[in-house]
Symmetry: C5
Subunit: 263 residues, 5 copies
Amino acid sequence: MDIGLIAGILGGFALVLYGILAGGSPMSSFIDVGSIVIVIGGGIAATFVQYPLGDMLGIGKVFSKALKNPEFNTGQIIDKVIELANIARREGLLALEEAVDQVNDDFLKKGVMLIVDGTDPEMVKAILETELMNMTDRHSRGRGIFEALGALMPAFGMIGTLVGLVAMLQNLSDPSSIGPSMAVALLTTFYGSLFANLIFIPIAGKLKIKSDEEFLVKQVMIEGLLSIQAGENPRIIEQKLKAFLSPSVRGAIGTPEEGGKDE
Amino acid sequence: MDIGLIAGILGGFALVLYGILAGGSPMSSFIDVGSIVIVIGGGIAATFVQYPLGDMLGIGKVFSKALKNPEFNTGQIIDKVIELANIARREGLLALEEAVDQVNDDFLKKGVMLIVDGTDPEMVKAILETELMNMTDRHSRGRGIFEALGALMPAFGMIGTLVGLVAMLQNLSDPSSIGPSMAVALLTTFYGSLFANLIFIPIAGKLKIKSDEEFLVKQVMIEGLLSIQAGENPRIIEQKLKAFLSPSVRGAIGTPEEGGKDE
Amino acid sequence: MDIGLIAGILGGFALVLYGILAGGSPMSSFIDVGSIVIVIGGGIAATFVQYPLGDMLGIGKVFSKALKNPEFNTGQIIDKVIELANIARREGLLALEEAVDQVNDDFLKKGVMLIVDGTDPEMVKAILETELMNMTDRHSRGRGIFEALGALMPAFGMIGTLVGLVAMLQNLSDPSSIGPSMAVALLTTFYGSLFANLIFIPIAGKLKIKSDEEFLVKQVMIEGLLSIQAGENPRIIEQKLKAFLSPSVRGAIGTPEEGGKDE
Amino acid sequence: MDIGLIAGILGGFALVLYGILAGGSPMSSFIDVGSIVIVIGGGIAATFVQYPLGDMLGIGKVFSKALKNPEFNTGQIIDKVIELANIARREGLLALEEAVDQVNDDFLKKGVMLIVDGTDPEMVKAILETELMNMTDRHSRGRGIFEALGALMPAFGMIGTLVGLVAMLQNLSDPSSIGPSMAVALLTTFYGSLFANLIFIPIAGKLKIKSDEEFLVKQVMIEGLLSIQAGENPRIIEQKLKAFLSPSVRGAIGTPEEGGKDE
Amino acid sequence: MDIGLIAGILGGFALVLYGILAGGSPMSSFIDVGSIVIVIGGGIAATFVQYPLGDMLGIGKVFSKALKNPEFNTGQIIDKVIELANIARREGLLALEEAVDQVNDDFLKKGVMLIVDGTDPEMVKAILETELMNMTDRHSRGRGIFEALGALMPAFGMIGTLVGLVAMLQNLSDPSSIGPSMAVALLTTFYGSLFANLIFIPIAGKLKIKSDEEFLVKQVMIEGLLSIQAGENPRIIEQKLKAFLSPSVRGAIGTPEEGGKDE
């Protein structure tokens, strides 16, 4: 699980809580159920206007993608492709059929099967690239809900504050109530900004990063599969695929490594 | 009909209403006909400056597109294309002329007719892609009116608030009227933000989603039609077209499914 | 003339006037010559910094383009191209020289003359596409002045308001003057927002729409001219060119139609 | 020299000065050296963080480009290219060597020398296009400093205003000083907006326009040089190059003209 | 080391300090540990939500890239490539193996080794371009953290101010505390704007500039290596590569120069 994501959200809330308590206010002055309902409810309602029901129900699945660590990194995939290239070179393309059973990535498996079936190289490329392109489009659409919520929550925060201000301004007779009324009015803007900037916008950003990483891994697979099908030398294939890696991790290929990024 | 869109808009208004009533204000303090006229009227007037009369009159038709559920999903279209591919393979391209009568999508029908007429494959591709590109441009223009309204309503909301503030500031002699005057002045900003964020911006977003879906379906049709004309094996065509689908729905092809989105 | 543009601007001003009068303020409180001078003058001065004198003097010509209805619509151009294709087929390419005298579009005429002169098809394509691309660039530059004014007017509106606020704040001794001073200070922001959102931004939008329409019409001409030169069948040319139209107007080709947009 | 640029800046300042004096404030209330230092100094300091020293020192050279009128316009360059084409046709490519001495544009001269040296046409095209692309990149980077200042000045204006507000709020004991303190606090925002919108943003815009014009002129040169090298007919070259011009100036080629823009 | 970056940040802080002291406030009124914790902590927490742990830990390495002066400039690389081209011409491609030992750029060395190994030119191009593209993607991702902080710090500044305002408004009983409370509330917005505009946004800008420069240098290397492999004339290679330089530095090639930018 992506500890950073959870820790970041919890840490952010803790820091804001610290800021509240350090200012000497009771926690209770910052909780107003009605305000939370307007900001979250309004943001979700507007998102329902834009996204089909199926997408809205699938938001949990999209979120779980943001949380999940990737099963492979690029280096491991390159190792696997080179292994397949060696098998193909020694025992022929048909021998890949057996090797494919140990591959537990569906995209790579599908590509290998296309090659084993003797599909035309142009066709293999077209099928795999179409699949990659449509995967990217689907990711971008799933991410869109988080981006929409990141934009709508502050908007409904401001709408809620306007509701509070109008109510307050039409009832100025009791001066002692002005401060607290205005405080409550500002809470919706506070919630909207906090939820957008601590949760929705960064999660959309993380989904983009994960999608880019998956795109890179699958580009490596396509490049490798086409090279295997063309019968290229495994050493050349290795050089080609390592060009997708940062120089600092190239030496490490073949050994397990933490998914960190370098350079 | 797109229940989510209607439910989202009604739900959003209900939540704002709840926020108003929860704050103890009478509903009436939030209704000001003059303010509504400035925001909606001003936004529409500015849109008339930008868009031709024909576009403005067609806005209902564009909105009905946002409301309408698509007749086909990609899976069903793939089934239909494979069916046509099998007919073409068994009985020849001319047999498609009869089969086409049961096709009730104009774009697919037109493509089939071009093939039956023996049009050159390059020409078939050019005609269908030109049509697809121009459809996308038309969609983008129709959507533009909603985007313009989504940007103009908050602008005219602010203009209305400035009108109210100037009027109030030039008449500060009666302190008791300041609060209510300012409340009314803020109402235009409130209306502008609410209409933009709950109605116009999300509807523009939904139109984009529907246009992207239609683009995908028509891309699948073009790909399929060109493969049929090239006499490709229906099994290969199926693999090619399934690459447009998310892995999770691929198995379901051939069985009716709810239009939901996955992955 | 583009009635919608004029009506939109007048209607927008009328609505704002209604808002002012409905609020019980005299019209005079909203007119301040000095403020108008700062907003309009400042915006124009800054535009002079950016655009060459020639462009600034040509702004009236650009505006008249926004006002003018197009002489042809795509459907009429398709009819004309098909007519030329039939002439070329029956009487040869040279017969187009006579037919061209009745064509009153300079771009189409130029294309026909290139064909009649026996220019190489690649060269015809290059010349016409270069011309189309440069037309689009010129349109985009002319439109840029309106976009700049749409961005600069609110900026100078805010600058004017800051001038007014600073003046007011340095002279708080007479409390009765605070309100009116602040009211006047806000007028520049009011003018800047109104002029930008009712005039300059929507006119820039209209110029973009007109440029896109002209681009489409000229694309159709290029496509048609190259097909005529290649000696293609007029029926095929018709199918190719109709792909540029929305399905709903395709049937109407050959009959005059109002320039409205559909789908 | 570009009179419009200078006149626009001076005119803009004059208008703001008029607005200040018309409001009855003394000019002195709008001058605060400390505020100017924060806005300009802060903006420049932040620009130093982003841009290398060499770029910062070269800002004067970039500004002088915004001020300088172009030596040639597209029409004159077309005349010159056609003249060279005629020489090449009559006397052979080598005769261009002599003609090139009268050419006082380095880019055109370089292209001619490449042709005279018998460089491969593909190579000529690659060299000239690489140079054009890198020129555009350099222009865009030089322009970037002005764009950065246009964004940073308002930001430091707001930072200065926050400094002033915090200072004022911590010392509310003397009510009579509140107004003037707040007035001074607002001055930084005023300076930041004015400098950005009257100077830096429009100058960045002018640099973009000049860069686009130079790009167009050099595109014409490349097109012309390649045509000369290919031995094309000067009449065809003229038609090709005139496609880069607006229809309204095409007739004027051969006569000197003011650099104005048309259509 | 990049003196400008350090000097810019220190200078910016000094100017703001000057502004504070010039306004007669004690430095202490502008320091509030709690506010700094909310702005910096909140911004970092939200960045942890978006970026993987490995990226966050590598931020120092990315920052050191912004600080480091480039080892080579384009002119020096061109000299080196021409030297290699001369060696290859005189002594054959294999002689490059020895020459490569003195090359201390890994990318150039790798390219030379590919050539010496007799790799297919298409493959050399593909490998080097893949590596360049992935380098650019990695740079853009590393830069993204600074861009995210530049956007998040002002957002958490506003969130902190809202916390302070709500606390203040709910406790208006002691009028003398209102000013100082509001002053403290504004400090978070002040910190957020200052850190974003003086540190994070300009550093992200500098990283972009450095990445663009490295991209240019590596493009020159690829172009040069492919020309060497194709056996092109060193004089032609020089002309090709100099097209990547600004005209004003072309003459200086061969002599060491300060990394400044020109034109």
